[in-house]
Symmetry: C2
Subunit: 222 residues, 2 copies
Amino acid sequence: MLAASKPFSGTAVVPIDGLLRTCNQTESRIATIPPRTRLFLPGIDRSETFRIRTGCIALFQLLPDGRRQIVDILGPDRLFGRGISDLHQCGAEALCETEVELVTAVRRSLDAEINQAVRLMLRRAQAHATLLGRKTAGERIASALIDLAGQFAGEASSRFQLHLTRTDLADWLGLTLETVSRYLNRFRREGLVSFEGPSHICLRDRAGLELIAGGRDLVDAQ
Amino acid sequence: MLAASKPFSGTAVVPIDGLLRTCNQTESRIATIPPRTRLFLPGIDRSETFRIRTGCIALFQLLPDGRRQIVDILGPDRLFGRGISDLHQCGAEALCETEVELVTAVRRSLDAEINQAVRLMLRRAQAHATLLGRKTAGERIASALIDLAGQFAGEASSRFQLHLTRTDLADWLGLTLETVSRYLNRFRREGLVSFEGPSHICLRDRAGLELIAGGRDLVDAQ
DNA sequence: CGGCTCCTTGAGCGCTCTCAAGCCCGGTGG
DNA sequence: CCACCGGGCTTGAGAGCGCTCAAGGAGCCG
């Protein structure tokens, strides 16, 4: 039996149509989701889609005994909603305060955008399967850091805020939080990364990390 | 270091446009791919899509050192092609003699079908991530058997041909061939399955397998 | 018959998990 | 001000699942 994260209980659960309503009232298409909010999408129309403006959302699945697998981490500019990932199979949780924008039918190119987003998720899911099935713990951590830098650090920068806890990272990478902690600190001791507090990370040796990651990650082209 | 399958070398590699040409010559839309043929899709138009009529195709990724991860197993009626899975990131290999049908623009509903197929692949990929990240070896084998029965056994039947070798199963499930063999034989000793030869399998206790699989698999609805 | 591929089975090891203790830090209340 | 508490993180010690290595069997083909 692999790590069984403690079953979620305390976190707030927010129906996303509630957010929608506030959207409409304020004549705005933008909603703000508080940190650690679980989203669910009750009767959402397939065409209702959100774009993340700032923040971070995790998509996850649960096994009956409480084991959790995070299947993707969504950063700024990623789309999500019922038409994208089939969220009736996934839960979604905002890992920090997250601003989302409703993009329903703003323009007619939306369908194409959604299909692109679905294909991006598929490519990421396939690369993630390779990570989960065939990479060692160290390789997984290195891959994750590179991925997160790509999503949350500015183009030129290698510094970013880590919205995930050690437990989140473990549930994303198929490890335990102890193993995640051990490898992060090992990478820090080896000068590959540095922390400023446990949730700010700077990649000090990106090439070294990419080497460890086990070959260039297959998801980068759009 | 996890299992590094021996690097592939001997298997035939067939450009899929070669198959296409024979298609056109015979005025047929159907091509037959020999067993253990690697496909690659050189200058294929995005809209050229195949439907599997009979047989089995594996999509896989390779790490630089030769480790292989099979990201999906495609059985009859599944679509594939460049517009579906982004095959420039995946290799594809026919695991047995496989008949495919070119479905380019036969009807105008094709786009919708392709999008459905992509979404199915995404759902399967997410369920597979949960398998790889959070399930034990026994749970993975049980899940795989149920999945394969769904794709390759007739609706009512629980008997099917296993087109995958033990190595293929291992590379799909993130295990080694020895572990796969051990659990398959353990399930046989426990009366959950039976073999007729190493490549014909019959599920004797589907409910038991589903229990072991760690909760109903999340991919079944289309 | 040899040679090949695939499969099975055993013995032992090691990577990662499990269990446990303790630290850091912010919040809260005395 | 300090005490207390709780969540998240770090670190160590030991155990176990699945990997590694190895030997041998079964089936097929020339």
